[in-house]
């Protein structure tokens, strides 16, 4: 018997449900979470001292949020919970995790990674001006700090989060000036059939739209971002083109941008899991089976860190990954439980495919970006420099382009710019995005203090 512990990385919906299922089977997992409080991105909790009611914080999802928080608190005595702790590297079969400068070496028999996702960014001129936030950032400001990104914000991009965040701002008393979506009405219709797999979610979405419309928020589809305007160092307005090419603009003091999500899959990469290109999300993803097993026997994945199925999908996938782990070590798990979970995940998956159709990643925008647009903001690398790597320097893949002109070389290690940079490179080479590959992960996954030391 391998008596090394099971580690769950992440305490959002997926990690929480995974840990809970393991506890139910009598295991005592270590649960690592980068945040100081459990809940993940979507059900993020306020810092101590902030006391807005759940209904205001989480809207229609308040019931789920409180259930998840309550269930986590219930298993606290049965897990080794380490908040504020980042898993950042792998040495042999030991996971390295830091809290400040204190590094622990955590050996494990298995690890369930539920590390979530971040916003997916497509740059546009002006996106680095102070006052431009990612949609997720705009949402965190509201949820965790009760702050708005501005008094007259515009939200631009595509995907369900675009409308959710705009609606949350509206409800918080900060009606957005406009919601600008790169996807078209026709895209929306193409995704409808599969999105109908989750009628309640679809109805919520429609309600957000109706509320925004009723509140007089300008709603535009099939737009092409032109630029975010700089007004003496802050955001002064935003300009876009309509499907017909007409230039339009709106004054605003902040912009939230996001084009769907990208999985945080670096730990899976460090743990040598196989990856494949996923055409629905147009990005590389770790290969998993119907349970969340990876090509590495010790590694299971759940939630947005593996497949972008959203919070409900993450809860089901978390339990399912835990069940797979239990099955793999001959714990009894009822067939009915598995069947029910897999059925739920299948529904989410249909919905996910619908979303992919309805709100496609606007790859075509990468080709049209002006040469001087900054793509990698850590290193100040422009679209033109990436094209120079593609052409004059003959870089066939994104790692070579990174080596030669540095996109993805900075603090964020390409988490923010990597997908857009790859798209620009692919466009410049005239090949599909999957042919230019993905940025190889190197430890540390997040910046590591240089006064780090191993603590027992």
């Amino acid at each position: 018997m391998d008596d090394r512990p099971v580690i769950v990385v992440g305490a959002g919906p997926a990690g929480t449900r995974a840990a809970q299922r393991l506890v139910r089977a009598g295991l005592r997992p270590i649960v690592l979470d980068e945040n100081d409080r459990q809940g993940g991105q979507i059900y993020r909790r306020q810092p101590p001292g902030f006391t807005r009611p759940a209904a205001r914080l989480y809207g229609t999802e308040a019931g789920k949020a409180t259930a998840l928080h309550r269930d986590f608190e219930a298993i606290l005595p049965d897990i080794d919970y380490r908040p504020g702790t980042t898993a950042w590297g792998v040495s042999g079969d030991v996971l390295l995790a830091s809290r400040g400068s204190a590094v622990s070496e955590l050996s494990f028999s298995a690890v369930i990674i539920a590390s979530g996702a971040t916003d997916r960014i497509m740059p546009c001129p002006g996106w680095t001006i102070p006052g431009v936030f990612s949609l997720g950032g705009a949402q965190i400001a509201l949820k965790a700090q009760a702050c708005a990104i501005g008094a007259r914000p515009v939200f631009m991009g595509t995907g369900p989060l675009l409308y959710l965040v705009a609606w949350q701002y509206l409800k918080a008393g900060v009606p957005p000036v406009a919601v600008l979506d790169t996807s078209s009405y026709a895209d929306r219709l193409r995704g409808l059939r599969q999105m109908a797999a989750r009628p309640r979610v679809l109805a919520n979405g429609l309600r957000y739209l109706a509320d925004l419309r009723r509140a007089g928020v300008m709603l535009r589809t099939a737009i092409r971002p032109e630029r975010i305007e700089d007004d003496g160092g802050t955001v002064g307005g935003i300009a876009w083109r309509t499907a017909r090419g007409t230039l339009q603009r709106a004054a605003c003091d902040a912009v939230g941008v996001g084009y769907g999500l990208r999985s945080e899959s670096q730990l899976a990469d460090l743990l040598k899991c196989d990856f494949a290109f996923d055409s629905v999300s147009a990005q590389w993803a770790p290969v998993i089976d119907g349970f969340g097993r990876t090509s590495n026997r010790q590694v299971y994945l759940a939630g947005d860190g593996a497949v972008l199925r959203g919070a409900d999908g993450a809860e089901a996938a978390g339990t399912l990954a835990a069940c797979a782990l239990l099955l793999d070590r001959d714990h009894p798990v009822a067939t009915a439980e598995i069947a029910a979970l897999q059925q739920r995940v299948a529904v989410m998956d249909r919905f996910r495919q619908g979303l992919g159709r309805a709100f496609p990643w606007p790859a075509h925008l990468a080709g049209a970006l002006l040469d001087e647009t900054i793509v990698c903001r850590c290193e100040n690398i422009t679209a033109g420099e990436i094209r120079h790597a593609a052409q004059a320097l003959d870089a066939p893949d994104i790692n070579r382009a990174k080596a030669l002109v540095r996109p993805g070389m900075g603090r964020c290690q390409g988490r923010m710019c990597g997908l857009a940079a790859a798209e620009i490179l692919a466009h410049a080479r005239g090949v599909p995005a999957e042919q230019v590959g993905r940025i190889r992960t190197a430890a540390p996954v997040k910046p590591l203090p240089l006064d780090s030391r191993i603590v027992p």
């Binding site: 900075g410 540390p444 910046p447 240089l450």
Partner: protein, 387 residues
Amino acid sequence: MSRAPSAAPRRADVVIVGGGFMGAATAFFLRRHGLSVILLERDLIGQAASGVNFGNVRRQGRFLPQLPLSNLSRDLWGRLPELIGEDAEFLPSGHIRVAFTEDNAARLERYAADCRPYGLELELLSGNAARARFPMLAPDVHTVSFSPADGHANPRLAAPAFGRAARRAGAHVLEETEVTGIGKDGEDFVIETRGQGVFRAPLLQISTGAWAQAMAATFGDHLRLIPRGPQMGVTEPVPYRIGPVIGFASDVTEEGVYLRQVARGNIVFGGGRRTDANLVTKRAPLDPLNTIRQMPHLARLLPDIARLRVIRTWSGVEAYLDDDIPVMGPSAGVAGLFYAFGFCGHGFQLGPGVGHVMAELIATGKTSVPIDAFHIGRFRGPDRPNV
């Protein structure tokens, strides 16, 4: 364009196998002698050791008989823009070795005296003088040995730049062309590749870095190359102020760390223990525990570094010979065959010089600087140090 050799000739005066820094620079300089060249690289030019190393352009501390070659190379580093049209971010910022103990200081003093006849002038500073000159160093520095004309460059740029310059000069540089077999057929070497056909030439250079052992053995030249991965890392950027490359003078492996600051502010560091590298997967693991082990020694050199954060680490496949000096020059037994590999962790600085000297040797049969110490023949005969 370079990946479809169908248009490329099948025959040349020289075929070079392996497009690291050594192969790319040799191809470039061979064109200046007017020889036709085909360079065959398995992956992309300069992607292996040559593209991931620390970037030290250092002469001090080298094996003394290597200094003439190293001096020549240093001159070429200063002339990169006129030679290949770019500078590969070469910064002649100086290089210092820092001793904290009496013993290590004595070693620095001895080396400074020994290298003078080879034309390398080092400046020794002790105690307060060292601290006044290099105020970023730790207060307990004993002695600093300063080499003002050394410096550092960007390894990711240098070898690919030589590859492109070689191509512009008329060399046929074929990437993604792995050599799977080498033999001799009469006067000609016959070079088989995976999927790209057969190439021929009367002259052949093997510069396949860590992968050279089996190729040399094909021609009866036996030696042992041990693949290892030096451990590198880089911090987030801070305002530029360090200047020289800084190395810890010590014979304790763990303490042997070094660092440099690039113009945009990041501090690149390396040293300490190496990992075992894998020739089949072509990967050398970075062990994050090694990064943590480097930290106290880096902070011993440069106390302020402890306040920064590491943003990335990496390693790369390098090969080491038992005597820690390279193999360079003609084969011991086969006419027309030349070697340039096994640079044992110090080949980056030598890259331009090796290319220059190998091209000279291949084209004219002579070299302007001595390289006899690196002849592969040292591994033959009854007193062979290897095997």
